[in-house]
Amino acid sequence: MSNYQLSLIMLACISVITVCGVFSMTSLAGMFSLGQAAYMSISAYLTFCLAKYLALPIWLTSVIGIFASGFVALIISLPTLKLRRDYFALLSVAFGQMVSSIVILLGDYTNASIGFSKIPKVEGLVYIILGITVLIVFMVRNLKYSRFGRMCIALKTDEIAARSFGIDVYRLKVKIYVIASMIAAVGGICYGLRNRVISPDAFDWSLSAEMQILLFFGGTNSLTGSVISAAGLKVLPEFLKGVKLFGFDLQSFRTVIYCLLIIVVINFRTKGIMGESELNFAALKRIAKRRSSACSKGGKKK
């Protein structure tokens, strides 16, 4: 495969990783955040700066970066998750902006807006990222089908009812928020390794918003739907490259096309393309069965 194709695969994978993080937070526990890119930023900067200035191996600094993000998430979530959902979403935007400005303020180390590019090259990166993606999708899937997943869906629907069944809503939310932020952190490191340069602009609120959009597009409660839309919609603009329509370069209109697609989906399928259904072996079997029975019926008619 060409380098271009490999880099597209990595792009899709990173998008899947980050959307998985947002899935566990928004779809399961109903926390709407527009600041998840900040955790990508924290972990990426920490990982690559530590690797450069302290000459530590990259795998070690990655672990530090991920856990540091988790720690920051814990500290941020303790006060903010006591708030109502809308205030929490507002504060998450503020947090994202705060992290961006801290990165710029620490310009001596992070090279501010020009971007930090002293990122080591990793051999066989595409396999590593593919492996991490599979692992994270697997983990989030298991989370959904565990007692934590059930409790999250319960508290998302009705917090008072959830509490009256002994579910510690606040602690559970904090836990899920930390996990989601650590997944975002993994995504941030992968992003840095792929692009070989990171800048505060890359991790601003529009990236966080994009994650949410991808999630809602795929289906608010469907992990497979989110994964498919995360990979598909992220790569889509690349296929628009060089395509011309009425003399306009579609690439430059990609935001418009994005938004139109989303408006159409949100209007006609309010719960996203997949809604609440998951694509798994049972569902595939069901579809196959329906099709074969439809075929046999058609055959009889003839």
Partner: protein, 257 residues
Amino acid sequence: MSNCVLKLEHLHKSFGGVEAVKDFSCTVDEGQIVAIIGPNGAGKTTIFNLISKIYQPDRGTLALGGVDITRKSQIETARMGVSRTFQNTRLFAGLNVLDNVKVALDFDGKYSLLEAMFLLPRRWKREKETTRRAMECLELLNLAQYAQTRPSNLPYGIQRRVEIARALVSNPKVLMLDEPAAGLNPEEVFQLVDFIREIHGKYPQLAILVIEHRMDLVMNLSDYIYVQDFGETIARGLPADIQNDPLVLKAYLGEEE
């Protein structure tokens, strides 16, 4: 005399200037069905919310099985064995019936987040145990055939039962039913009375506290009745006494002009 499970003493709760509950005392024994009746706005649901700690009482004490729970949080109280249903069913729409029942056991699921995410052996074992207990409860209440259905696809009467099953699965000490007959047709009410009787037979230790409007249901079902009006207890006693109490009739039917 049998053991007292729930003891409420001199409970007070006001919202701004409105005294919703004034000096409410009550005891519920093991295996007893106690009803709280009264017209709209009498403070019945407030009493339930005080017992399950959605509200904290302004004054008064609550004890569960001899343990003081006045200052316990809603979560702690639920974990100690106070379980309830709601006036408008509050089933979790995103979960099917089986998961709705399982979720009531999940706070005590005994496996960690990491074990859940990596599918470690303990997760399988505990999950199987939870499923078994939930299915047992559903079978006991003849609801097993709905296990895989979403609650929104079920008739209201069945939803009520599922909600009761969800409240029962964790083997609570006290089961509180908040207007279980609201929104049901006469036939469903009839079935509900049988259903509560059935539960009473199958869980002999369980104390049941019912809020209800409908006199017929209450008279048939309960061992003891408290009548509330404007936050005050205007009568208490056995069903037969309550039926003929002039104060109760006044509250329910209005005064003769």
